[in-house]
Each structure stands twice: as C-alpha cells, then as structure tokens.
Symmetry: C2
C-alpha cells in the first residue's frame, strides 16, 4: 500500500499499540512508532497530532454518532429511549474489533494520565447527550440525569463487552443493562 | 489563636481560595497563600501536602463517610437504599458551608487539571461504593451499576445544591433525584 495507502493509519496504530503495551505509553516516542510501522515521523504527524491521539481519535466519532442519533430519534421517543438509540449506535465505532478495544483499555488502565483523559471524554459525552436532549425539549434536570445515566450504561456495557461478560451483542447488552438499572432503582421503593 | 490555633487551617484555606479565585489556581504559590494568611510556608506544609490538597482534603472524608454508611446499612436494605443512605450522610461534609462549596466549584471549573482530579475522585468514590456493596453480598453487576448511579445522583444533587435549584435540604434532594431517575428509566418501558 505504501505510505499513502489506506492502511497507513492502521499500521501506525498497530505499531503504537504494541509499543504502549510492551514498554508503556509514557516511554514510547513517535519516532519509535514510525520506525516500527516502517514509516516516517512526518507520516505519523500527517495522521495524528500526538501519540495520545492514536488512542482517542475514535472518541470524537463516537460522540458525534451518539449525539446525532439522540437528535434524530422520533419526537415521540422518551429521553431514555433516544439515549438508548444513541448508545446502540455507538457500537459501530468499536464493535468490529474487540481485540483492539481490549488492548486500548489495557493501555489506558495502566496510565493515570490516560485514565483522566478517558474520564474527561466521557464527561464530554454526557454533556453532549444532555445538550441534544435539551434541544429535543427535555427539561434540564431530566436531560442531565438521563445523559449521565446513559454514560454509566455505556461504560458498564463497554467493560462487560471487552471482558466477554454478558451478551456480546451490543444492542442486547445495552437493553439488558437498562433493564437491570430499572430493577436496581425499583429496590428503593420496596 | 496563633499558628497552632484551631483556625490555622481555616485561615490557610480562606487565603488559598481567595487567591485561586483572584489570580487563578495555577498562578498561585504556597508562599503567597501563607503570606496572605499571615502564616509561614512551613505552617502551610504542616497542614497540606500541596496547594491542590486545600481543595481536595474533604474528598477522603466524604469517601470514608459514604462507604462506611453503605456498609453499616441494615442487611435488609436494598443496594440502592444502602447507597442512598451513604449519599445522605455525605451531606455532613459540606452542608454547613454552601458558600465555601460554591467557591471551590468555581475554582475547579476554571482549571482542566482540577476538573480531571475531581472526576478521578468521583471514579474512586464509585469504586469504593461498589466494593462496599459487594462486601454486603450484592452481585458484581448490580454493585457496579448501583454505585455508578449513586455517584451520578451525588453529582447532580451537588450541582443543584450549590446552584440553589430544587430542595436545599440535602436528604430531600437525594430522595427527589432518585425519584426522578425512576421516572426517567420508566420512560423506556413505555
């Protein structure tokens, strides 16, 4: 394919992930990533701003997909239904490659700075979902709570999905966790 | 009172908060905080590890209070009831001084590093609650979901409390948000 081939990004990403896992994220330089991929640093910087972006590039796409799906849900859909549709759509970003998702998570879990970044991305996702719900006419408090709960479901679903626990069909997994949450909250009424 | 008086900590904290708000957290040095409080740097370091700890010292106390209350809830309490009791207890940490809580939040919101720290503290709180629930015999998935939802309720309640929205009685606020969450999730069944 060469350095302009469609797989340039994939080669850089695989090289980066291998190095992050072998020697740690902090210890890895862009020069090493490019070398392992058989490409130049210049090529790396054509595709990524820095070595962190290799791990977080998908987050923007995921956010856009979720937010747009929430906005596009039928007006008759309850806020939680619109959010559920958004979360289901998110599966498209990672569902094709569970191994990659697992490796990425291993790299992030090993590094506090990356963990902080991940938490911040998830907070941004919650804000984006809440804003989309408000645009649909959902009152502030309901929008905030539904968005935050949506992100909780997303996180727990993602952990279970990469851990191989529960249903491996993403849509089923989201549905089953929402059901479980209803049971959890119902307990307080007892 | 003198530098050993019970209010030394309070003076340092007020001085720090004033400076963080006036000139920004990053721009403020421990020397400036001590000077404004009319105390020495040495005294500052007897009370705090660094200038960040002035803002996060309460987090450890809050975590201990929530986790211990969850553990101490009657065996017959549902997981969400045990967590609700923990969240209610948390009010003791900040309820006496809404102004301080507001100023602290303003400082944190203005600084991405502090925001990241706050998110990480909340993630630690969720893990602590989940561990306490597991110790009570709650199955893993339920423990994780209940703990995460508990932290969502805590965050939204805290925002509303410092914003002066909704009931200002912390226990009532927690109860009303849990009720609202039940309504939110019920929507998906419609």
């Amino acid at each position: 394919m060469g350095r302009w081939g469609p797989d340039t990004r994939g080669r850089l990403e695989r090289a980066a992930m291998e190095l992050y896992l072998q020697q740690g994220f902090e210890q890895t330089t862009v020069a090493e990533i490019a070398e392992r991929a058989g490409l130049t640093e210049r090529t790396f910087f054509r595709h990524y701003t820095d070595k962190r972006e290799v791990l977080f590039r998908g987050a923007g796409r995921l956010q856009a997909l979720v937010v747009n799906t929430v906005l596009a849900a039928p007006a008759s859909a309850a806020p939680i239904e619109a959010v559920a549709a958004g979360l289901e759509a998110a599966g498209d970003v990672f569902q094709g490659d569970v191994e990659r998702a697992r490796l990425r998570q291993t790299v992030i879990t090993a590094n506090p700075e990356l963990q902080a970044r991940e938490l911040s991305k998830l907070a941004t996702l919650a804000s984006g979902i809440a804003a989309a719900l408000r645009q649909r006419g959902t009152p502030d408090l309901t929008a905030d709570l539904t968005a935050e709960v949506g992100v909780v479901v997303f996180r727990v679903a993602f952990e279970r999905w990469i851990g191989g626990a529960g249903p491996q069909d993403w849509t089923l997994l989201i549905g089953s966790l929402l059901g479980e949450l209803r049971v959890v909250l119902g307990g307080a009424q007892a």
